[in-house]
Symmetry: C2
């Protein structure tokens, strides 16, 4: 009976671990609480209505459909029982494993203020992206219909909390659609006057990148009209805006891009975690005391040889997934495991549609060149799973023509049900106060 | 000051009414509670994971962005006050009009059993389509992970209630993905063994079409493996299945395609409605007693010259919208209005990916030929708003390659929130009973 390898998570780390075992004498069960693999680097484009969810995700079981020693289960890991070598699932089932690869990723961290999550969604899943898209587009729609100038200004104010790559990309994309994509569609509201504010606690955006790239990104953001507030921390978030120390900003749309935390499943391992809840793995990616358990991807607190932490980026997850598979095969063959060495292929972040910052070793690229590099590298990663020509055409077409089918507002089921039961439109369930006066005329 | 025309509804009828007034000396405000125009004939393809929502919808304000005398508001009509010539909106605002075009469409009717709506979703909106897609894909996923044979069979049983075009198309598409699209992605479950049952109260499916076409459709459905139950009425719907008289069918997924009702807004007009809640309009599409109010599309109970009711299909809505605009312009010029004459361009329904039934005048087409006719006519209608070459390529590509990005399961916000608060997967909120035993092993 071949060894049973259970992989938790169908993101980059988990998928590449599973694929790396395609020829090994094992049976693989890959478990994910969602049915699709998500290309997270492009998630902000779904959030800002430049791409559809279907453009950046693919059913996991389709990715692995040809790998005969692998099967996929839609299920959620609830707890690991390392001594029993069992993974308990949320619905009561359990999986016995010989080897376990934990690639469950990271989730949002609100620094102890979980109540902010209702007012300031983060961007980790497709559902997040659709929620953000819904809020952003609805803000413009409400501004178009609202006769009150003060409320309109709050509706046209967008605050992005967190100046890492996600926050920078979100803020740039928001400013861009307000300025270039949608103004012609509106009559009353001048969407170009939308205010996008990016708030970062450190003294520069992209604090994990070289300072020259931070400066270039800030310049590009400001050229797009984004207000970049560095050295400021958000102290409160509510339905009407944010509190930044003494200062208050009235904003209908607040987005969270500031903190991540390891998936809760890691706590059940019974091994030390770092401050963000990530597993302090051995250099060979196994868990201290359990050679048969690997942790890879965003859930692992792995380090470069220099001692610096490895960033939570797609290439790192891919490399770790592959390396875990290699080490597992080595163990099956009675050979020793090897430590993981991160090959830093560089970092990139886009700023709007035609600018980016990128650093590869000593090369620093900015502007249009960096943007093209970013474009092709992302398509390369993405299409490793699909037909390249088809996806490249499709993606470029979508992107360059500001694909209109992406700017859809779909109601949440709560709103649908409210409408069906009560018969009128629901109050703004995000908490935005309803219009107080009755039969106000719209100035024609 | 030009006359103010308010159009309620951005579907085919409302949009074509607004466009028909592009050169008229009027100001137009088009109001819709959603921001997008939806190509409903292809909705069942989003529901069965063949197309993305973005492929069949477009923001209304983009469709009208170049029409300078038209503006779009995201708002919901709550009540018409015909004597005051005012439309009250759900959020408290109001619009004064000189002319009103009501094109608010139809919604689901559960024949007095509104409680069934929670267990048997219908298919009228993109949200409906995504909900159905989610339920269908989740049913297969759960079957893959469930060791209990009886539960698996119920999970693999799909009941479609209503044998009109929507039901026929849904049932055919469901059988097709179970048989041809997804079997290779699954290991434990043989999805080809899924049972799709189409229940119709009349003695034949497609009762509004000629009997020869009904017979052809039934043949094609059965060839796909659909069980067609005519002459049967559903008497109960619950989370575990349906009751059909004495008989009970255990089914996890039940879809409603059986009845429509006019939008509730029509009741506030104070004029006679038919049994389905549609407005009994004058031959010129105005409302009795109010020459300045038009009702068009699915909300209007208009009749052909033969006396037969006009079907709720896209061409009828388009023609009525255009005719209302023509009559409105005539009134502005002091000329008489003309009665609406429906030009019956024929009816079509597809059965799976390569078959259809179609009737134009005396021509009856079935099989592959009809399917191609259906294909091109639908693309023609759809692309009236967009770049034809681009959309035709994109749509054909998606359709012919069973675009995988469409087979995504996205959680509802309720489930997301449950998971975030409680920390485990939510019980199946559709009502499906949770797995009773604890730590059951999955037979590897």
């Amino acid at each position: 009976m071949p060894a049973h390898v259970v992989v938790v998570g169908g993101g980059f780390a988990g998928l590449y671990a599973a694929r790396g075992l395609a020829r090994a004498p094992v049976r693989i069960t890959l478990v994910d609480r969602r049915n699709h693999h998500l290309f997270q680097p492009l998630l902000y484009q779904v959030a800002t209505a430049a791409l559809n969810p279907g453009d950046i995700a693919e059913p996991i079981r389709h990715v692995l459909s040809r790998q005969r020693n692998a099967r996929v289960l839609l299920a959620e890991g609830a707890a690991v029982e390392p001594d029993a070598r069992r993974l308990r699932l949320a619905d009561g089932l359990a999986l016995d494993y010989d080897y376990l690869v934990l690639a469950a990723g990271a989730t949002h961290s609100y620094f102890g203020h979980d109540e902010w999550s209702r007012f300031a969604p983060g961007l980790k899943t497709l559902e997040d992206a659709e929620e953000i898209r819904r809020r952003v587009l609805t803000a413009f729609e409400r501004a178009e219909a609202d006769p009150d100038r003060q409320r309109r200004e709050a509706l046209l104010t967008f605050v992005v909390i967190g100046g890492g790559p996600t926050g920078v990309e979100l803020a740039g994309a928001l400013a861009e659609i307000a300025r270039y994509t949608i103004p012609r569609d509106f009559r009353t509201v001048a969407t170009e006057r939308a205010r996008v504010i990016l708030v970062e606690g450190n003294d520069r955006v992209l604090p994990a990148l070289p300072p020259s790239l931070s400066a270039a990104a800030q310049r590009d953001l400001e050229r797009l009209g984004v207000h970049v507030w560095t050295g400021k921390r958000v102290t409160g978030v509510d339905p009407r805006g944010v509190q930044i120390g003494e200062e208050r900003v009235a904003a209908r749309t607040v987005l969270w891009a500031a903190g991540v935390a390891g998936a809760p499943l890691a706590r059940t391992l019974g091994v030390p975690l770092d401050a963000a809840g990530r597993v302090l793995v051995n250099p060979d990616l196994t868990v201290p005391g359990h050679e048969e358990i690997y942790v890879v991807g965003d859930l692992a607190a792995a380090r470069k040889r220099s001692g610096e932490p490895i960033p939570g980026v797609a290439p790192a997850a891919i490399q770790q997934g592959k390396h875990a598979a290699r080490n597992l095969v080595a163990t099956l063959r009675g050979r020793p495991r090897t430590p993981f060495v991160y090959f830093d292929k560089g970092v990139m972040a886009t700023v709007g549609r035609g600018r980016a910052v990128a650093g590869f070793w000593r090369i620093r690229m900015t502007g249009i060149l960096a943007w093209f590099a970013w474009l092709f590298i992302h398509i390369w990663f993405l299409v490793d799973f699909r037909n390249r020509a088809a996806v490249m055409f499709q993606w470029l077409w979508h992107y360059l023509t500001f694909k209109r089918g992406t700017r859809l507002i779909l109601e949440t089921p709560e709103e649908e049900r409210f409408r069906a039961v009560v018969g009128v439109a629901p109050p703004d369930l995000d908490g935005w106060p309803p219009n107080e006066s009755d039969t106000e005329r719209i100035v024609a």
